[in-house]
């Protein structure tokens, strides 16, 4: 759509800018402030320069948390995006089934995150939970409070349960917006189901898939509450992702300087990776 140049439009955006700036810029400046200073309490601060940044970037603890985080986000994307797409493709297109599917599938999205954690905590308890007891009865040695591998399994399963529906909803919206003519033309040409998917549905879904990948990447990279309630970052440090590590440092130990430096590095990593995903996916579209 052609848009008129109108500088007065700034007046319409002003309330948003003021509100978001109050919430984003002042706290961000506080973080920057802490990240370059040292304190021994009593509100006395000393200039520390880039010491904290060096300390964080060289600390094995940060490297481990970052690696766990990257691995977690990679697993989440590898499972949820294809799974969401498959479910959306198999969903009914009309009739009462659509409403039932949409309502039931959207339900996990509207449950408070700590309730999600608590729910999975009791669902997976080895002695009294349905999942934990069930797996143990089937002969698996399953105890997510003790074994790192099953703790990861439970965390990933919880996230798949919690967020796959978002991918489904997005893909479904993309699918129903494809005009029927495309399918009719494909039928006349005798195209196989795979060809319809590969040459009609997939290209048309590119935009919603980009949004799905971006949202799932950002949110899985920032995951905090659910894991905190489910495993508390344990056993040991097995599920201590970046946000949980940051929380331990800032609110647990009150190491404000290093915590602030880590916050900034963390935020920059998300920005950089999101930008990378976005550019790569959009460049493919341009070709």
């Amino acid at each position: 759509m052609y848009k008129q140049v109108n500088q007065k439009a700034w007046l319409l955006v002003l309330p948003v800018v003021v509100l978001v700036a109050f919430n984003a810029i002042i706290p961000l400046m506080t973080v920057v402030n802490y990240s370059v200073q040292e304190t021994f309490g009593d509100n006395v601060f000393f200039w520390a320069g880039v010491d904290w940044f060096q300390q964080i970037l060289n600390s094995p603890r940060f490297h481990d948390a970052l690696l766990r985080q990257l691995l977690f986000s990679a697993i989440i994307l590898a499972i949820e995006v294809p799974l969401g797409l498959i479910i959306a493709l198999a969903m009914p297109r009309k009739g009462i089934g659509v409403s039932i599917c949409l309502i039931l599938m959207a339900l996990p999205l509207l449950i408070p995150w700590n309730v999600v954690g608590a729910m999975w905590n009791i669902f997976a308890l080895p002695e009294i939970g349905l999942l934990g007891k069930g797996l143990n009865n089937l002969g698996f040695d399953y105890n997510y409070t003790r074994q790192p591998v099953t703790a990861w399994f439970t965390t990933v399963l919880m996230d798949v349960w919690h967020w796959t529906s978002l991918v489904v909803l997005l893909c479904y919206a993309g699918l129903v917006s494809i005009p029927d003519d495309y399918y009719r033309a494909a039928k006349i040409d005798g195209a196989s189901a795979w060809a319809v998917f590969r040459y009609i549905q997939l290209p048309k879904l590119k935009r919603v898939l980009t949004i799905a990948v971006l949202l799932r990447f950002m949110d899985s990279f920032m995951i905090y509450t659910e894991v905190k309630v489910l495993t508390g970052g344990g056993p040991g440090n097995a599920t201590t992702f970046l946000s949980i590590d940051l929380d331990k440092m800032a609110l647990g130990q009150f190491d404000l300087g290093p915590a602030a430096a880590m916050s900034l590095i963390y935020f920059l990593i998300i920005l950089l990776l999101s930008w990378l995903f976005y550019t790569l996916m959009m460049r493919n579209e341009a070709q």
Binding site: A90, I103, L107, P108, P112, L131, S243
Partner: protein, 265 residues
């Protein structure tokens, strides 16, 4: 066709299992929960719910949560409406950068902002008020609302605006009388997503409150950690937090799917 509809059914069963377990547990006594494994409640009890509805530390949590969520939804959508209109209709200095900057706030981890928010809202004297949480949640809800509304507004042809101006409508009158009713569905979707993200968020809500505005999610975590493991009570409180969400989904069920898909990246 048969085989195909099996996939959504299996998925929905998978989604319902943990929810079933939570609901089943809320009707059990603590002794039964800790005593062993049972698929259905053996001693069916409503005691857990009775406690929540009679103890003010519990039910006030729900009221507090609803107050700040509704405040936040109204505030976010109200300021996002004119901004989204500006983005969808005009070009102005720095518009693209501004749009991107708004979206980057969606990428800020709440854990990064928790402590600075506590200091900021204490400094301006809003700590432990509903308005503090409502304002804090605008950080991610305003960008989201602008994004969704801009998508819906770009779908409305510009001729609608031009005809109204020719007919002698002033901008505010046109906006309220004609434009807002035209994009009512978009406003519904934006409200839904603002409600959703404010309702499910816990870290900021918990950090910014202590007594007067304590949200239900904070009440729950404190129960879990202080008075041992009252699982039945926790399950009942959890079950009750699902209800507002289910209620809201029912109203927007035909539009949810559209919400995100229309926004531009």
């Amino acid at each position: 066709m048969r085989k195909r509809s099996l996939i959504p059914i299996i998925y929905i069963v998978f989604l319902m299992l943990p929810i079933y377990w939570l609901v089943a547990m809320s009707f059990k006594t603590t002794n039964e929960i800790l005593g062993g494994f049972s698929l259905f409640p053996q001693d069916f009890t409503l005691e857990n719910y009775a406690k929540i509805f009679t103890d003010s530390t519990w039910y006030s949590g729900y009221i507090n949560s609803l107050i700040y969520v509704v405040t936040n939804t109204i505030l976010s959508v109200a300021v996002a409406l004119p901004a989204a209109y500006a983005f969808s209709r005009y070009r102005f200095l720095g518009d693209k950068h501004l749009f991107f900057w708004l979206l980057t706030n969606r990428m800020a981890p709440a854990a990064v902002f928790a402590l600075p928010f506590l200091q900021l809202y204490s400094a301006v004297g809003l700590f432990d008020t509903h308005i503090a949480v409502a304002l804090a949640h605008t950080l991610f809800n305003v960008p989201l609302a602008v994004w969704i509304l801009e998508g819906f507004m770009s779908g409305v042809p510009k001729e609608l605006d031009e005809t109204a101006y020719v007919d002698g409508y002033s901008f505010p009158r046109f906006f309220v009388r004609i434009f807002i009713p035209t994009i009512a569905a978009g406003i519904g979707v934006a409200c839904f997503f603002c409600f959703m993200f404010s309702w499910v968020e816990m870290l900021l809500a918990k950090t910014l409150t202590s007594v007067d505005a304590k949200p239900i999610v904070a009440t729950m975590t404190r129960t879990a950690s202080t008075s041992g493991y009252e699982l039945g009570l926790l399950a009942a409180a959890g079950t009750l937090t699902i209800i507002p969400g289910a209620f809201v989904i029912y109203f927007v069920r035909n539009y949810i799917a559209k919400g995100f898909a229309l926004g531009r990246v």
